[in-house]
């Protein structure tokens, strides 16, 4: 009789161990799944790459692009065809439902007055600019990522120095944040 009870007890224990192994395996699976299901947030790098390509278009070898300036000053046709001139494409994937995911803003300042912009233009989704104001107070992952860069460039023809400010905003929240 005692032997029978012992047999039943050991059966229960082995079922318990089996359940424990399943539980721990499920836990490990859950941990790996949770970790790897989070996408990498590369929006800051994307904004950096975008601002670098804009900077390369606006200035080369420390000299401002000749297409930006003409004899009368800043060239309006460059402003109107900025994306084509700089070979940029701001279209994004279908998952964003056709809503532009980028915003670019470029300001030119004369070195004598670094406060007042002489020439500026923008492209993309203007609604994204509100994210930058919010991000100044606290970082929210679901908001768009803003990157502001500035650099000097020379106009050798008129012997002028300009400060160029580039604001790049990338949203793409659905692909970079869970």
């Amino acid at each position: 009789m005692i032997k029978m009870y012992k047999k039943a007890g050991s059966k229960i224990i082995s079922v318990y161990w089996f359940a424990m192994i399943l539980l721990v395996a499920g836990g490990i699976f859950g941990m790996v799944y949770l970790f790897y299901s989070h996408p990498y947030d590369v929006r800051e790098l994307e904004a950096e790459a975008l601002s670098n390509s804009i900077a390369n278009c606006l200035s080369n070898q420390g000299e401002i692009n000749k297409a930006i300036l003409d004899s009368e000053g800043f060239n309006e046709s460059f402003k109107n065809n900025f994306l084509e001139e700089c070979h940029l494409n701001l279209n994004s994937e279908d998952i964003f439902g056709g809503i532009p995911q980028y915003y670019l803003e470029i300001h030119f300042f004369n070195s004598n007055n670094l406060e007042k912009s002489l020439f500026n233009f923008s492209e993309g989704n203007l609604n994204l600019i509100s994210s930058c104001e919010i991000q100044k107070e606290k970082e929210y992952q679901r908001e768009a990522v803003c990157l502001e860069k500035e650099f000097f460039s020379l106009d050798k023809f008129n012997e002028e120095l300009y400060l160029i400010k580039i604001l790049t905003i990338v949203r793409k929240t659905e692909k970079n944040v869970k």
Binding site: G27, H38, P39, Y40, Q141
Partner: protein
């Protein structure tokens, strides 16, 4: 009677052990979520080349402009840089 008590205490031991295992698993699941949220943000400041220094293209552009600028413009760039360093 004594046999029953022994059985109950043995069952209690297993129940407590199970609860400890489950709670540890829950803590680890939670930790992996937090870790995924924090470590999967790729930031420029964290990217470093083998030399230990990150390269900033605009910094290079500034340097080139500085080298070809007149003395007056060089002073403007220096002042701007000083002001920027103070802010950061």
């Amino acid at each position: 009677m004594l046999n029953k008590r022994a059985q109950i205490s043995e069952i209690m031991t297993w129940i407590v052990a199970t609860l400890i295992i489950i709670s540890i698993l829950i803590i680890f699941l939670y930790a992996s979520t937090i870790l995924a949220q924090k470590t999967k943000i790729v930031q420029i400041k964290n990217l470093k080349l083998d030399s230990g220094k990150g390269t900033d293209l605009l910094e290079i552009k500034n340097l080139i402009a500085y080298e070809s600028a007149s003395n007056e413009d060089k002073q403007i760039i220096e002042n701007w840089k000083e002001k920027n360093n103070e802010v950061s």
